[in-house]
């Protein structure tokens, strides 16, 4: 339980760990040497373009697909065989499409899911049924996407799981419903000592609730850090010159994208800019601006196609 200001760490070992993970599907390489570490007790945002390998990663971690090469571990165990069953007993998964059994009613699927989890929380079940306003006798077929998402969230949150794996939890939801879902997540993490691993395209949401972020591009990790550290490290530096901007070469490490346009040079730095700033000042610009970089720009910078 959270005592005041205690950092929420359940164990020192990463809950999810992959090393050099490769996955090939019929000639398509979905994962190409993915390295990932998800700290215990974190809310971990997993970002990437469509087709970058996010869903494949989750499938491998849950034993739905076998790695072609490399290692994947959840709770320190391999996701295959009987260990995989034990992992899934402690994990709650919500898929992107949130597809459930059309032929069941809300109450039926709750009872069905409950039967597999000895740590099922009946109190949370009542709480979320009320909060999400889910009618027990309604057929899943007749539920809107928003209701289906809430039902899927309920089924995930009541399992007493140590790890929640969510693929685009708020996709297709209006902002009010999305906030409801996020609120349920945040409340759950605070009370239940679990880890949340979620993929999302909603960068604003990720910035809101995640404390760690990883960006995946073309099957590989390109960024992985605590969100606060990312915010502290990335800087956009703009230099304006009296005449045409000179050709500059920046040697400091962590420099991305140096763009020169007329009298202006813009530099994106991912290493808190100290060295870069000193180096750039040497060019004696007439004006010198340093500003923070949003997660969106960090993302776009990390996954852009080669110039």
């Amino acid at each position: 339980m959270f005592t005041e200001a205690e950092v929420h760490v359940v164990s020192d070992r990463p809950v999810i760990e992959t090393a050099g993970l490769w996955k090939r599907y019929e000639g398509v390489e979905a994962l190409r040497g993915l390295d990932l570490q998800v700290p215990s007790g974190s809310i971990f945002g997993f970002l990437g373009r469509n087709g970058s390998g996010k869903t494949t990663t989750i499938k491998v971690l849950l034993g739905m697909a076998r790695p072609s090469r490399g290692e994947a571990r959840v709770f320190g165990c391999s996701p295959s065989g009987q260990d995989g069953v034990e992992i899934r007993r402690r994990t709650a998964f919500v898929s992107d499409e949130k597809d459930l059994y059309d032929y069941m009613a809300v109450g039926e699927i709750v009872a069905f899911t409950r039967s597999f989890y000895p740590r099922w929380r009946a109190d949370l079940e009542q709480q979320y049924l009320r909060k999400f306003e889910l009618p027990l006798d309604r057929n899943i077929k007749g539920l809107s996407r928003g209701m289906r998402t809430k039902l899927a969230m309920l089924l995930a949150l009541c399992r007493g799981a140590d790890l929640l794996m969510l693929d685009e939890p708020t996709s297709g939801l209006d902002p009010a419903m999305a906030e409801e879902v996020l609120q349920a997540l945040v409340g759950h993490v605070a009370a239940q000592e679990s880890t949340v691993f979620f993929s999302s395209h909603q960068l604003a949401e990720v910035e809101q609730i995640a404390d760690h972020v990883a960006i995946i591009d073309r099957g590989q990790t390109v960024v992985s850090d605590a969100l606060d550290d990312l915010r502290a490290r990335y800087r956009r530096i703009q230099l304006v010159f009296e005449g045409d901007a000179p050709e500059i070469r920046v040697h400091a490490p962590g420099t991305h994208r140096v763009r020169r346009q007329g009298r202006v040079i813009t530099v994106l730095s991912s290493s808190s800019g100290d060295a870069v700033i000193q180096e750039l000042r040497g060019y004696r610009p007439s004006s010198f601006d340093v500003s923070p970089v949003s997660l969106k720009d960090i993302f776009l910078e990390s996954v852009r196609t080669e110039d």
């Binding site: 499938k59 009987q82 899934r88 998964f93």
Partner: protein
């Protein structure tokens, strides 16, 4: 609750199968009335020895002889024809579906995220399906001795059960075949068509290769003619069905979703 899920997924198919087969069996019993009325005419029908020597001629001869008695009529119409043919069809229909089909509908990932092995999934589905095949074979068969007095005849309960058992064992083979094919294809049509094609192919091949007369086992021909069950055929069917279900489990185990 996996049993419950498998039941929900197949209950309408199962109920339709039992109803249709039962109605057919009952219909056959009542059809005896019309056949009985025709009997005097059958006795005067002659088939020339030359015609009888041809394949078709001997088939017609056999049909005429069999339909002269209630027991023969029932065996010919119900067990050998209707229940065997429709039984195969319904066994295939029951065997289709399963996890791979679920993946085309989307809920497969939910199922796969549960703390169960894929073997258990296949096992549960097979268990429910085989129980359904059993009911589908026995209930229509039992209707015959129950309804026979209504047309003034008698049919042995034990005989009906024996035939029902034969239908079940061979039906199980086709159920398992459809189950196995369903782990290879995502849609529900290909397993069905392929299984039925195999059934037809077997029917034709058995005219030439006597060892393949699986439908003769299903109709309980040996039992009808000699009073003893076709033990070899039943055992072979059980072995083949088990092997097919095992293959289904192994195929599913290796599949990437």
């Amino acid at each position: 609750m996996l049993w419950h899920k498998a039941w929900l997924e197949t209950r309408w198919r199962f109920i339709s199968a039992v109803l249709i087969l039962t109605v057919m069996a009952g219909g056959n019993v009542y059809g005896w009335l019309a056949t009985r009325a025709l009997l005097p005419q059958l006795n005067t029908t002659t088939i020339s020895p030359a015609a009888e020597a041809t394949g078709l001629g001997s088939v017609i001869r056999e049909a005429v002889e069999l339909n002269k008695t209630f027991r023969g009529y029932i065996w010919y119409q119900a067990f050998r024809q209707n229940l065997t043919q429709m039984g195969v069809l319904f066994a295939v229909v029951l065997g289709c579906g399963g996890l791979v089909t679920e993946s085309t509908q989307g809920s497969a990932l939910f199922t796969l995220s549960l703390p169960i092995t894929r073997r258990r999934l296949v096992g549960t589905r097979a268990g429910v399906g085989l129980a359904q095949c059993f009911a589908m074979a026995i209930v229509p068969s039992l209707v015959i001795p129950i309804l026979s007095p209504a047309v003034g005849e008698r049919f042995g309960l034990v005989d009906a059960l024996a035939h029902g058992l034969c239908i079940f064992f061979v039906g199980a083979v086709f159920f398992s075949l459809a189950s196995f094919l369903s782990t290879l294809f995502g849609d529900i049509w290909r397993p069905m068509l392929i299984a039925i094609s195999i059934a037809c192919a077997l029917a034709f091949a058995s005219l030439v290769i006597p060892q393949l007369r699986i439908f003769s086992v299903m109709s309980g021909e040996t039992y009808f003619k000699t009073g003893s069950l076709p033990w070899a055929g039943l055992l072979t069917s059980a072995v083949i069905a088990t092997a097919l279900l095992y293959s289904a489990a192994e195929t599913l185990e290796r599949r990437d979703f």
